[in-house]
Symmetry: D2
Subunit: 372 residues, 4 copies
């Protein structure tokens, strides 16, 4: 049985001048296997991933692990600790609005340069090792920038240094009020079937700043570059990264977390992380969309809203999704306004407050979805 070692990584310093660190749990198997990196709560109010990691650690203590698994719960000690009212203001740096999940490193020109200069005849593991080193060196350069570096970016880069050593990266998030869903790079769509997650978003090779992209886009881009240089080699680095949305923010649920952990273990088992493990995916319906069909529904008006369409339910075009109360018209027919589905869709998440301004992200919806 593997032992769990625990370490602490300093990622920031607060206004009291105190170091802020995150715990790093590590399991190393006796046999070789994939390297796995799992973090949770980069957005401070999205806490269910910590429960998933708790259940994963419970399971890993009794697993025949191959390779190595690093787990970093509550990985954002700043965002986890900003309250404003009763809720956690965890999505962005309260000083400047910077999303905590958008400061990872990605530089296309560096990848292109690497592809053009690397010895492509060497064994693949060796080439991967060199690529990892070159990215980590670039990250280290950023961290050592003499003019300094912003808080969110520093936090992100310190975590990414770990993550970029891994073959499998899972970034555990939550939506506002949300059903479970997962972001999957298009090339890894088959892997989506090993998670017990009904809603799958297939994302292209476009870096928008998040950790999953900061992982897979680098390898995908490298693959594209090398396929131009040496197409006969059919490059495949077998690195996968996912953002998993484990339900709603501001809520933890130990039972659901146990199920979520089983889902992760099923995928890891499929990827060869265990000997003699029986983790298998459940036989559930999975629907998928391409990212372009994952649509945000913005409110036209401000007011007070009841969300009738529940996350995960199939909704028909024209069905009432929400009702908006109009405070100034309570005595007449304009008191309540219906918001209807513009097409067939599945709402995946909705805004967590009943009070909205015009231009609020009311729902995010699967449209043109299909069975996976």
């Amino acid at each position: 049985m593997p032992e769990c070692t625990k370490d602490y990584l300093v990622v920031a310093q607060n206004a009291s001048g105190r170091n802020l660190n995150v715990p790093v749990y590590r399991f190393v198997g006796e046999k070789p296997g994939p390297k796995v990196y799992i973090q949770s709560s980069i957005h401070g109010a999205e806490v269910q991933g910590n429960v998933v990691i708790y259940h994963l650690i419970e399971a890993l203590k009794h697993a025949e692990l191959k390779g190595e698994i690093i787990l970093v719960p509550n990985c954002n000690p700043v965002g986890s600790n900003i309250k404003s009212g009763e809720y956690t203001l965890g999505r962005f740096d309260p000083v400047n609005g910077q999303n905590w999940n958008r400061g990872y490193f990605f530089d296309e020109s560096l990848i292109r340069n690497f592809a053009e200069t690397v010895n492509i005849e060497q064994p693949l593991p060796e080439l991967k090792k060199q690529f990892r080193q070159s990215i980590k060196d670039a990250i280290d350069n950023r961290l050592a920038e003499p003019w300094g570096i912003g808080l969110a970016q520093r936090l992100n880069l310190k975590l990414q240094r770990f993550a970029f050593d891994a073959d499998i990266v899972l970034d555990l998030h939550n939506g506002p009020v949300s059903t479970r869903h997962i972001y999957v790079p298009e090339y890894a769509r088959e892997s989506a079937k090993y998670f017990n997650i009904a809603n799958v978003i297939l994302i292209p090779n476009l870096f928008a700043g998040a950790l999953d992209e900061a992982t897979f886009c680098q390898w995908w881009k490298l693959q594209e570059e090398l396929n131009q240089i040496a197409p006969e080699k059919q490059w495949d680095f077998n690195v996968e990264a996912f953002t998993m949305e484990m339900g709603s923010q501001e809520v933890i649920d130990f039972n659901a977390g146990h199920y979520d952990a089983q889902s992760v273990l099923s995928y890891l088992n499929h990827k060869g992380c265990f000997d003699n493990a029986s983790y298998q995916p459940d036989d559930i319906e999975r629907v998928a969309v391409y990212l372009k069909d994952y649509k945000i529904m913005y409110s036209q008006q401000g007011g007070i809203v009841e969300y009738l369409a529940k996350p995960g339910e199939k909704v028909q075009q024209g069905q009432i999704m929400a009702k908006v109360l109009n405070i100034d018209e309570l005595d007449n027919a304009k008191a309540v306004e219906d918001i209807k589905a513009p097409c067939d869709l599945i709402p995946i998440l909705h805004f967590p407050s009943a009070s909205i301004l015009g231009g609020t992200q009311l729902y995010k919806c699967f449209t043109h979805y299909f069975e996976l």
Copy 2:
């Protein structure tokens, strides 16, 4: 059928220099009867009362009203419009932390002075009218204070001027994550049976700043003073005021609001506000506590919490109410800490976020509760 008239009351001015107003809906019956004042959302995130008022207006349009009903939904235009993250920061003035529901007027010495100087031989309605005028004059003096007056207090006083004309005052609130409950002055405990609200808090004649107290404490105090002066008269002003907590903040529910409105109509019917109305309370179990037995359970530790005890459920001493995850101990027996009920209780509400610091109001609970 009474007509609904609509007016607007300016209560504040924002940083753009624009007036902020609230709608005032008014129904006047053809026959005499009680004056009723109902407001909602003095705490900006507590929005369900607006739905209740919507349903009340629907019903009042077809009622044979006696007396007069004034309804002021969304009565705090500042608190309703402060977002911090996705939630509404509606409980206190974000500038100075002042609770929006604690700036009402109450001055014992003024009441004592009134009691000592009023002609107690005049008819009761006339005496009530004089008392109302004296309080409203005092409020007007405050509003006209040459050095000015604070934002929350100005808002409160402008609303209280309306409310103090009423015989019945209902202030519609919500708890964080909450079951329905109602604050009832001890002398009006019989009235609690006309609301369809299972949980009743009986409060003494102690002014702590809220609108219900700012209403009934004045009359209660006056009664106490006059009973000392002329005990033979058995003074009773028949003024009642309640704070009703209509479930959880940040949520509206039209169906529940319809039921809540029936509950209010049942009470108003009992108080003689209607002719030929059939509104009756439901036959439900009602439990009550004295305010001193309505206990706050504070967290000893910080961490991430699952709330197992649900608002409204009866809980036995020793039962696990919540579990706290300890991020630094996920690999050992201290990973999860149980929080147990210190006595038999009914949790009425709990904190709405899974992330807590030590010293957070985890639950508020009925202890030593009894059937009403």
Copy 3:
């Protein structure tokens, strides 16, 4: 003398369901001339521009205006009214962290397409008119998007519709604690000499989301495209746009605003907006940097800071810019840490709070600056 007309533009709706509008002041000259658009306070705490607009209106009432000037003070009614503590949380949408000055429209492919299809033989004013129409049509399409549009973007687009009709666009901002400075597109550097602003940042043709860029990048890009198609024509659209930083946020100063207005009038006079006006720039030293040399100095540590280097002062390499107090080491030699200038520089602005986390934008500095 031109008359000032006043109108109101609805830009948003708040959670009370009320429209939020901004005042639009307009002066139309009797003779033709440039169209000018000036807005202030898109970031809600940056209020000095409103005073500048006040003084401009005072002056314009007595000017022989040519062309047209539109002035939109306090153009962000949401951001101007969010308090969190005593300060205005005006830089980003408190719901999602989106910078209020980053949602303007810019689409290179649309410009390219326009250049390829427009009749380049028609008169320049006609071509400009067509280009304006095509951009405004695109903006209108965005605003009419059936799934809706985000709050910040809607606000930005509604303002940009006005601004894109103008030949001259001034967006009035403030820094945190800041000396006056101005962002100038590289092609318009000569114009910088007509403002009384000592510190000039020259910016390239790269759209990063702000209104100045959303104006001039479009024309600059069009010029580049047309110069490829028909280089012999030496395209020049004579459209200029600037972001002016009028000192520190959270402060207004009527006297300084009068001087700032003179500075704007001097530039407008140079651009032919007046007959018989004597507005001239002051004879001051102006220093400039390229945007790449406008450096952010991030703090390495958290703590409490005294800012010794004052905005606008020339600082030598190695000079102490700030001192950080270390609360845990007050009894020893590590109590105070010096932060030194890494090269010769001019601090333009610094962070407005003494309390910083590691990774805070401590200063923004001109390096490699030169006389303009």
Copy 4:
């Protein structure tokens, strides 16, 4: 020379489950003398006191101390680390609005009971020791409350336990934009002359929640009680406590802090804390008011403000103190509104933001002031 020892006091636990502590610096003299307790930054944005403590420690290292001095800088690790925008949200708990300086312990009935039961014939030092113990026992009971205790109160009580052992308590604060001033209990007005602080507020024996009151009101009340029981003894406990307001929040200034420290040392020297020390107060004009004459000027209107009257300056009745810009009237005579002094006064502090709502604390002013 006394040695400085350093310890850490845990006062809270954050949402990551980590203990939050404050440093406690302690100097013990070789000879007996007063016990002194000095804390700073209970309001997180009021940071100058930390610099004062730094300079005090520097001085104490070379002093011939009598008695004992405890210094607790940055005593609120929660409030020091909440940012909302660039500023520190340090005045109240962001969860519930509770002022961080209002949760100290004070219970009149306990004091009365002590006075009635204590042996008044024993030596005064012994009686003081018993009183201290009884208050500290009551504080410990509160801290051990089985239902727990709120965050702010826990923090306050943990600090008060230290402070109540002292004969001299200094609580270092800042105003918003403020000149230096000091709160002095009426009975200790002579002591005010030993501080180099020009503006003195004399406060009565009324507990309103702050640390200075939580210290001196207890002793003052005890003295009153004992003077009723045994007036012949002329009770005097020689305990003094002050809230010192060291200029403006969000700013530190090492030079000013050195001067502030000299001011404190002068007072301590007067109280017999040193042998052979030459610290003396400066010969400055000191003006004082009774608390009832320290008036808040609230804004009548919302808008954007220039503060013309500077903190500390004498202002005549009718003088313009501030100008408010009216965004909707920039083209006419109502564009600027003057706010005038209602009487002769000295503004002590003003609101730190140019953007105000109606009902904002614009200024706090000395009226009916007199020379001390």
